[in-house]
């Protein structure tokens, strides 16, 4: 069964002019595209203030104020479905203390694990919130976020880190 194609140009303005309707439609389409592009571009430099981003920022701000960490502007944001995981590489210097801020919103608490440069898991027992870490050596570490398979739905996550 084929669906009826939308007929935007069939809109008839009060004066009966199709031409004006077409111009108006084009203008609205252009405006919509411009707003969408602006939104996309804005989202890249400034993350939208979603609950998980706000939660991660609250944790980060507390760590900055109370424990003198310097936090990054950049963060990782994404939605993880039940049973899904993501591994995020980060480069850490052994001289620094690090704190990770994990904000989330959704049907389950994500579990967070960290793996050393050789891919070996470092036990943490941390699920969400603030997680402090002193790397034993300088190099690439891997942060794994995992959502339990029995979660009721996708979980929106935001991860950021700071150092001192």
């Amino acid at each position: 069964m084929t669906e009826a194609k939308p007929q935007p140009f069939a809109v008839r303005l009060p004066d009966g002019s199709h031409a004006r309707a077409r111009r108006l439609y084009r203008w609205l389409a252009a405006l919509g595209l411009a707003l969408w592009l602006a939104g996309v571009a804005g989202a890249q430099g400034d993350p939208p203030q979603t609950p998980e981003v706000a939660a991660a920022e609250r944790i980060a701000n507390r760590l900055v104020a109370e424990e003198k960490y310097a936090f990054r502007h950049a963060s990782w944001r994404g939605a993880l479905k039940p049973g899904k995981l993501v591994v995020l590489p980060v480069f850490l210097f052994s001289e620094n203390d690090y704190a990770f801020a994990l904000g989330f919103q959704g049907g389950a608490v994500p579990s967070l694990s960290i793996f050393d440069p050789n891919g070996k898991a470092i036990p943490t027992g941390v699920s969400a919130g603030a997680f402090r870490f002193k790397p034993p050596a300088t190099g690439h570490y891997y942060i794994r976020l995992r959502i339990p398979a029995n979660a009721s739905g996708p979980v929106e996550c935001c991860l950021n880190y700071g150092w001192r």
């Binding site: 571009a41 890249q44 430099g45 400034d46 900055v64 310097a70 936090f71 990054r72 502007h73 950049a74 963060s75 990782w76 944001r77 994404g78 479905k81 049973g83 899904k84 995981l85 993501v86 591994v87 995020l88 590489p89 980060v90 480069f91 850490l92 210097f93 052994s94 001289e95 620094n96 793996f115 440069p117 050789n118 891919g119 070996k120 898991a121 300088t138 190099g139 690439h140 891997y142 794994r144 995992r146 339990p148 398979a149 991860l159 950021n160 880190y161 150092w163 001192r164």
Partner: protein, 297 residues
């Protein structure tokens, strides 16, 4: 990053910003969705989970801007060994922007590093100055309109603002520029900015270490002059992903060759064995490269 890049040369094409694979990858069977593999992994022993999880190519693609550190983190690491006098490592006035886009990108990267250096020196006026230079260089890349306001927000009121805020804004302006260039399909320039950033950062690092070294004594931690061999190797990988093209600026060719040589040297695969010689050679090469980048030709 020795030991992490097993199977090099046989790996599938990856994002130039991606991290190397972990050793002994256990890639999911062809057609097996990563999600299913992940769900299965939850019922396995930690070792099995670890091997599978870290090898999933799809997961590796999830690389955000946090996969590379910032110079701020590197400078903090330096501070644990020495007490740098940051202002001594300022560069002289930055020349007018060049016309070669690749050189401009390399210079821009170096200027972002200067921004982080200025933050370490807590120099409000310096922040305003570097903001002006960053804007003029970004304009050459066509990013003036997008980058200018962000950069302006970040630095115009550098004086009196909390350092933490300015530091985040500096990183934010770099992200905005990178996103702009990616949207223009100028991934090459994004990579060159990253490489320029770290070359200048390492130059500052080698100078700081040399300044604090007592005569006749050894460097407190020589590898720190390049952050770590793993970081240098990462830059070499970034440069490898930039295809050499006809008419390419001479300095880009030299950056590609020298970064690879330095990475090999620090990974112990080539060059002098004496640590002091490695530090000196690193310092010389980076200085030469940065001079070449800023030269007008």
């Amino acid at each position: 990053m020795a030991g992490l890049s097993g199977g090099q040369g046989q790996e599938p094409e990856r994002d130039p910003h991606s991290a190397p694979t972990c050793p002994a990858p256990a890639v999911p069977a062809e057609g097996e969705p990563a999600e299913e593999a992940a769900a299965e992994a939850t019922d396995r022993s930690p070792t099995e989970v670890e091997a599978e999880v870290l090898s999933i190519q799809e997961v590796e693609a999830e690389l955000g801007a946090i996969s590379m550190p910032t110079p701020g983190e590197y400078f903090a690491a330096l501070r644990h060994h020495v007490s740098p006098r940051w202002r001594r490592h300022y560069r002289g006035s930055i020349s007018e922007p060049q016309t070669d886009r690749q050189k401009v990108a390399l210079e821009l990267g170096g200027m972002f590093a200067d921004g982080f250096l200025i933050l370490e020196a807590k120099d409000g006026q310096g922040i305003a100055n570097i903001a002006r230079d960053l804007r003029s260089h970004a304009t050459i890349l066509g990013a003036g309109e997008r980058f200018g306001p962000v950069c302006g927000d970040a630095f115009q009121s550098g004086r009196g603002r909390a350092l933490e805020v300015v530091r985040r804004d500096l990183e934010r302006s770099q992200l905005v520029l990178a996103e702009f260039l990616r949207a223009q399909r100028d991934e090459k320039l994004v990579a060159l900015i990253q490489v320029g950033l770290w070359l200048r950062t390492f130059q500052i690092g080698t100078e700081v270490l040399a300044e604090n070294q007592e005569e006749g004594s050894e460097h407190p931690k020589p590898t720190l002059c390049v952050g770590s061999p793993a970081l240098l190797e990462r830059l070499a990988m970034l440069m490898e992903k930039i295809p050499a093209v006809e008419g390419e600026a001479e300095c880009v060719k030299d950056v590609r060759a020298d970064v690879e040589n330095l990475a090999n040297m620090w990974l112990g695969e080539a060059g002098p064995r004496r640590t002091e010689s490695k530090v000196e050679r690193t310092q010389d090469r980076i200085q030469r490269l940065l001079r070449e980048i800023s030269e007008k030709r």
